[in-house]
């Protein structure tokens, strides 16, 4: 019993990384109606920037995370402002292709800037060690990841339900033309949302650097999982993304425990089942 509970807790920490990356993807899709293929690469950039600020420049961990969010946010802003904005009106296949081009560029860019060797900074002292949970040591770091993930969930809920920026974004998402007509600066909202979504991806990447390495290719590894989660949850649905992150994270932790051989396959099976039963995803509008 304890084994199952403990594995569930580990799965929860796994789910939180998935949540952070799929939250950004979902928000961007929900408002801009763009599937950002390069979202995983922004996750990777977050990891590399956090390594630079924290591991190389020796800034405090929190500050390093903050700076890498800002850095990736800025990158997102450039992507939206100078590229995506010009092609909103054309076929969405091209939007997908454009963001695919960004993957190629960013993946090589990190190799040019940081080299081919993976990067891993030390664990900050205050996150080192373990607490006991269900009779076994549970890493403080994983608890931290869970806390950040849940905090982000609460903050996002508060942001979108309680803040005016969030309401403006929701209004824009549901009817961008009417939002424009009541005085919402829609292009600026788009830039803001894209930047915000990029920062969420960066947070997922930055937060993991001390325990997960930064290396070329991690973005491409993450993006497929993030896609599957957003498809399962219902494209553009934040609550759906949260629930399906939990589902995929926890189920794959149990998959490792009970069916170690089929783990990779597991997530696809979930997806196909969901799509057969509910083609628009679990929480489609």
């Amino acid at each position: 019993m304890d084994t199952i509970a403990f594995q569930g807790l580990i799965g929860l920490s796994l789910a939180m990384y998935l949540w952070l990356i799929s939250a950004g993807l979902t928000i961007i899709f929900g408002v801009l109606r763009i599937v950002n293929f390069a979202h995983g690469s922004l996750f990777m950039m977050g990891a590399y920037l956090a390594f630079t600020f924290y591991g190389q420049l020796g800034l405090p961990f929190w500050l390093a995370i903050l700076l890498s969010l800002l850095g990736v946010g800025l990158l997102g802003l450039v992507m939206e402002r100078f590229f995506l904005r010009r092609i909103y009106s054309i076929d969405e296949a091209y939007q997908l292709l454009l963001t695919f081009g960004f993957i190629l560029i960013l993946d090589d860019a990190v190799k040019i800037i940081w080299g081919g060797v993976f990067k891993i900074p030390p664990i900050p002292a205050f996150l080192d060690g373990a607490w006991r949970a269900f009779g076994r040591p549970f890493p403080v770091y994983n608890a931290f990841v869970i806390a950040v993930g849940l905090l982000v969930a609460v903050l996002l809920w508060a942001l979108f339900e309680k803040s005016w920026w969030g309401r403006i974004v929701r209004a824009t998402a549901s009817d961008r033309e009417m939002a424009n007509a009541i005085g919402v600066n829609v292009p600026r909202v788009f830039s803001g949302v894209f930047m915000f979504g990029s920062m969420l991806a960066a947070l997922g990447g930055a937060m993991g650097t001390p325990v997960r390495v930064a290396s070329p290719g991690i973005g491409a590894a993450m993006i497929i999982q993030a896609f599957i989660i957003t498809v399962i949850g219902g494209l553009g649905n934040l609550k759906g993304a949260f629930v399906s992150s939990l589902m995929v994270g926890i189920l794959s932790a149990y998959g490792t425990l009970f069916f170690p051989v089929f783990e990779l396959f597991f997530i696809f099976v979930i997806m196909v089942v969901v799509l057969l039963v509910r083609p628009q995803g679990l929480f489609a509008r």
Partner: protein
């Protein structure tokens, strides 16, 4: 052009020959993809899945029965069957949903290739696949062991595939698919069973992917899981985009350019991805018609000018 391709082995080096085989394979692959994308309006990001099914099926057959004809035929049939099955689930969706779904299905095939070791050999793949003789029932068996011979097999098969595709897109069926691309609702009201036709296009695209895939193992003697990865799916997408999606020859020219660009860039820098990325971004931002239609447009303009 065909003449040059026919005498190519006596003109070109072995590497050029090998490269042309690769280009022909990617051309067939991309033509199938473009039937789906350019002609039916569905962007699939999972074609590598069917490419891999074709390759693995051909490899398994060649390892069991050394007959290239059976290998190619088996690869094509099994890939088409897989496309029919997954297409049934996918064509219910369109646009971005379709793209993401095909991406995920492609990756599912990738994970099967990786995981079903008893059958696929896992990450080491299937090795020692023979370039078996081509034995069409009723005809004498033909040895194709040398690169030159195999080149002719690929050439004949590809030209046949290109010709058939040309016939297809210029047939009533091809017209119906283009109608669906332009307006789904209008096509319904023209009496076309849209979903069924989409499935047909998906299956044919899967068949072409499977044919392209089946041509690979006899060339390389190996099949490994990365050919099912989504980055392989991106190759026909890039080739087609490069050459032009709304012209028949676009994918073929694009396949050629894709290999040339890559081959040229990797001779100068190992950072070839970044250049490819820049080309993709530039194409999307500026030249969505692709190279062929760029030339076609210029030619049309010149023609119009000379009319006056």
């Amino acid at each position: 052009m065909v003449l040059i391709l026919v005498v190519l082995p006596s003109l070109a080096g072995r590497y050029s020959l090998y490269l042309v085989i690769q280009i022909l394979i990617l051309s067939v692959f991309s033509l199938g993809f473009n039937l789906l994308f350019g002609y039916t309006g569905l962007l699939s990001f999972g074609q590598a899945g069917f490419f891999a099914v074709g390759a693995y099926a051909c490899a398994k057959i060649l390892l069991a029965v050394p007959n290239l004809f059976l290998g190619l035929l088996g690869g094509v049939v099994i890939a088409a069957a897989a496309a029919l099955l997954l297409g049934f689930l996918s064509v219910r969706h369109t646009r971005i949903y379709f793209s993401m779904l095909t991406l995920a299905f492609g990756m599912m095939i990738y994970s099967i290739a990786w995981k079903w070791r008893d059958f696929t050999g896992g990450d080491d793949g299937l090795v020692g696949i023979p370039r078996a003789p081509l034995a069409i029932p009723g005809l004498p068996a033909l040895s194709v062991a040398s690169m030159e011979r195999y080149y002719y097999v690929v050439l004949v098969v590809s030209l046949l595939a290109i010709w058939l595709m040309y016939r297809l897109v210029n047939s009533p069926l091809g017209l119906a698919l283009q109608a669906i691309r332009d307006s789904e609702s209008r096509a319904e009201f023209a009496g076309i069973a849209v979903r069924t036709y989409r499935l047909v296009a998906f299956t044919i695209a899967g068949l072409y992917a499977g044919l392209a895939g089946a041509l690979l193992p006899p060339l390389e003697n190996t099949v490994t899981p990365p050919i099912a990865h989504w980055s392989t799916s991106a190759e026909p997408v890039l080739a087609t985009l490069l050459g032009g999606i709304h012209v028949f020859g676009g994918p073929i020219v694009g396949a050629f350019l894709f290999f040339m660009i890559k081959d040229v860039i990797v001779r100068f820098t190992e950072y070839w991805l970044i250049w490819l990325g820049v080309i993709v971004v530039a194409l999307v931002m500026g030249f969505r018609g692709g190279v062929v239609s760029m030339f076609a447009r210029r030619a049309a303009r010149a023609e119009a000018a000379s009319d006056r």
